[in-house]
């Protein structure tokens, strides 16, 4: 109780969750350090999580001086506004609207179109669902071209990592892990050169490296997940 009262900043998360990963990435980009990270067991959610997020009961939850903020993109914007540090959203209203538009697209269209692929159980299913994920990737390649402008800036945010980068970035380790296990390449270098280059640059950035789980750890988890599902069918 005394410990809880004294904690300035706490993040409730789960190491595999893309939404938690993106919040960690945003905190790192903003230069916010020294917060307490609590790994939640989603099968046995803590009292703190359930009382901090009574509406959804989900991670991530950022608790700042005892006040909870929920929903990953809401948290990212809060981090951007409540702390001084490198800007995550641009300052121009139109650029901000474009960043918000693409972050929403990533969660509402891109991820749902990819999700069936990583949940596929047979090679046949995988071929079909992978094909269905491609149109959204094409759209993101165009978005990156638009956002990074004719000067070919490295990130959706321009010269530095921004809102759209962390929105997509939360999923990146998963995308790489699934590609490794399935033998695919979602951000294929030949078809989507800008996204492929973005993925490499993003993963290599200091802030991101420390905030993201190791792809190998997700590979181990994903293989177990697939084996368990196939096992259940027999």
């Amino acid at each position: 109780m005394a410990a809880a009262a004294g904690v300035e900043l706490r993040l409730l998360g789960e190491w595999l969750s893309p939404y938690c990963i993106r919040v960690k990435q945003a905190l790192a980009v903003k230069g916010v350090a020294g917060y307490e990270y609590v790994e939640e067991d989603l099968e046995h959610k803590s009292e703190l999580l359930l009382s901090s997020n009574p509406v959804h009961g989900k991670v991530p939850v950022l608790i700042h001086r005892g006040a909870p903020v929920c929903e990953s993109l809401v948290i990212v914007q809060y981090v951007d506004e409540a702390w001084a540090g490198p800007a995550i959203l641009p300052s121009d209203p139109y650029e901000r609207s474009r960043a918000r538009f693409w972050a929403a697209y990533i969660d509402d269209k891109f991820f749902p179109s990819w999700e069936p692929f990583f949940k596929s159980k047979t090679a046949e299913d995988r071929a079909e669902t992978f094909k269905n994920a491609i149109p959204a990737v094409e759209t993101l390649e165009k978005a990156l071209t638009e956002c990074s402008s004719s000067e070919g800036k490295p990130f959706f945010g321009g010269d530095s990592i921004g809102y759209v980068d962390v929105a997509l970035g939360g999923y990146l380790a998963w995308i790489k892990a699934v590609d490794e296990v399935a033998g695919t390449s979602l951000f294929d270098e030949a078809k989507f050169p800008r996204l492929a280059a973005w993925a490499e640059r993003f993963a290599a950035a200091d802030a991101v490296r420390d905030a993201s789980p190791a792809v190998e750890d997700i590979v181990v988890f994903y293989k177990k997940m697939q084996a368990a599902e196939t096992g259940a069918e027999h």
Binding site: V55, V74, I75, E81, P93, R96, S97, R100, A104, Y105
Partner: protein, 227 residues
Amino acid sequence: MSPPVKIIGHYASPYSHRVEMALQLKGVPYELIQEDLSNKSELLLAKNPVHKKVPVLLHGDLAICESLVIVEYIDEAFDGPSILPADPYDRAMARFWTNFIDTKFSQPIWLAYWSEGEAQKAVVKETKENLALLEAQLNGKRFFGGDTPGYLDIAACMLGPWIGVLEEVTGVTLVNGNEFPALCQWAKEYSSSEALEPCHPDRDRLVAYFTENKEKYKMMAKTMLQQ
């Protein structure tokens, strides 16, 4: 001179209405271009190639899509009374609840009005739980935003003019004064608000629209609940 402001919208869409409300509250004059959703215009397809949906805000050469993205743009691009609060935590709360409306609230309430029988029971229960959460957010205030309408009031606009219309057309009552007195009071505040009066939708036109599309929406709801 500020570049002209136009909305590509539809009179029956609460999402389109959100944009009108925001411009109205901000004091920005605009032109409304009514879209025929059964025969989408070249303009709409050009300005919203990704989603091909209304509303779209045209500000000079710029096109902004997605209703809540547009509302935040309006708040930031134009001078006038603030739509979002100033404090970062209050802003986070406003964004949390508008996200709640779009991701958890909207679909079940729509289904609750248009579905029937056993399938309807579950969505009605879920809707009432969601309505209770929003009722609690009002917490004695005139508007979600306080004394004047703000971001969440704009996002929740469907609970204003649309509820009465949907309840009349479908015969389903959800937002009743016994269970949700604050929401009912809010709807009254909303409809008598002078600030919002110029963009109030025409009730008879809404009734005609939803009556005309009744069978289509009932079919859609049935299909969605079977999945």
